[in-house]
Amino acid sequence: MPSTPTSNWVLVTPERLSLEDVTTWATHANCGAVVTFSGVVRDNSSAREGVLALEYETSTELAEKRIHDVIDEARVRWPALEAIAIHHRIGRVELSDATVIVAVSSPHRDAAFDAARYCIDTLKVTVPMWKREIWEGGSAWSDDASPILNAQEL
């Protein structure tokens, strides 16, 4: 686990995500604030009720590269940030499990809130990732898809 004073931790993985791990990692001695966002599988979508799981597909290399772009742009906008972790799970993710975790630490809380929100909003429209919804007896690509944009333009 990286732990340099100012650091990024990007991970695209089929393993379960740990909020405790990223938060502990993000808490530096000069930080008073850690904000996290967890995106979790919910039982409904814009298209249907009864969602049981999601399945994510990507190129790990391309996704990690674009997540780094999101973080780089966040650091330009909020220079006071300390640690930024963005972990995205791939493969099948069950109901109520985390699909993505963002953790941002900062000396003060305003920058941490603003940057965490920027990171997840920007990830959703800049990082290559495709989601299938799985229900009892079927599956389909998510309706909630958007064209790929660039982090610097958002």
């Binding site: 990507t58 699909t99 997840i120 990732m129 495709w130 898809a145 958007s146 790929i148 660039n150």
Partner: protein
Amino acid sequence: MARLLLLGPAREAAGARNDEVDGVTVDDVLSAAVTRYGSKFQEILSVSQVWLNGEPTERDAVVESYDEVAVLPPISGG
């Protein structure tokens, strides 16, 4: 000759994630892919971004051997 990387709905429509096709430009490569995979793939390609070696590209860019042309339909991460 370029390497194709087809993701999400593009992968599904083509029935393959990785492939190799001939072509001098990105456009040539994509036309060859459409010929190979058919109309469902063409439909998805029409709303997709195309990247060359991990970066957005113009369609008239020249491809070298082993360059990677990726087809990225609209995304739904997070």
